[in-house]
């Protein structure tokens, strides 16, 4: 899945960059949740009860 969105130019030639691919939004959200989960699991398993 591309990071970017393209459109065909009405003047011919190659595709034109028109912006970011917002289809990736769920993946960016999932990355945040995954990092939070990974940290929570690490803290629970590797350093239970440790304040820092």
């Amino acid at each position: 899945m591309s990071l970017f969105r393209y459109a065909s130019s009405i003047y011919g030639g190659g595709d034109t960059l028109i912006g970011a691919n917002y289809g990736l939004l769920p993946w960016f959200a999932a990355a945040g949740v995954a990092i939070a989960l990974a940290h929570a699991i690490f803290k629970a398993v590797a350093a239970p009860g440790k304040p820092h």
């Binding site: 130019s9 960059l17 803290k43």
Partner: protein, 199 residues
């Protein structure tokens, strides 16, 4: 039990807390007005989005000026000691907080810079929109940077909220709400040599 005022150490002044929460509200409005229409919830979002973006721009500018001239600008930048001992007791901010601040600063400044350019494509009380102000290719780059920064900010906000809600970070969240940490929290979590807090 609520600590006595004598045991309180100021961590964030009112103006800095106000900045934080104003920025949080602006970010939330900007992300919702950007992404709800994409997710199928249609409403007149453009006006709310650019006005809120302008508010964010102003408060970020105020923050940069305040951090540069009235605060210790370098307190938020990783230093040699952070690199030598990243897991040692930090000064006011941990190395993770400094790196987070650096990352979110880059993303917000990218979103603001591109957002200000995109503003030219919107009718405002100040001007008529001009979609030909930049070339098609240049607009594509501007939109791509704005969109990628916005989606990355979703990731960063989720991480930030997670850490704010963790019980072991609650003293930091409380300090962003009420301004202070206790003397014990100061001694437990900070190196007084690196952060000489005034109580």
């Amino acid at each position: 039990m609520t600590p006595q005022p004598a045991d309180r150490i100021e961590r964030h002044k009112f103006i800095d807390r106000a900045y934080h929460w104003l920025m949080a509200a602006a970010m939330l409005i900007l992300l919702l007005t950007a992404f709800l229409p994409i997710l199928g919830i249609k409403f007149e979002w453009v006006g709310i989005h650019w006005v809120t973006g302008l508010v964010l721009t102003v408060i970020v500018l105020v923050h940069i000026i305040r951090a540069s001239f009235w605060q210790n600008f370098w307190a938020m930048v990783p230093d040699g000691e952070d690199l030598r001992a990243p897991f040692a007791k930090p000064g006011k901010y941990s190395v993770a907080q400094k790196l987070y601040h650096l990352a979110i600063s880059v993303l917000i400044l990218a979103a603001i810079a591109t957002g200000l350019l995109m503003w030219r494509k919107v009718d405002t009380p100040f001007w008529q929109r001009d979609p030909y102000w930049l070339s098609t290719d240049a607009w594509g780059v501007v939109y791509a940077i704005h969109g990628l920064a916005a989606m990355a900010l979703v990731t960063m906000v989720i991480i930030h909220v997670y850490f704010a809600l963790r019980p072991d970070e609650w003293h930091l969240t409380r300090s962003m709400l009420r301004g202070w940490i206790t003397g014990k929290e100061y001694r437990d979590h900070h190196d007084p040599r690196r952060w000489q807090a005034k109580d």
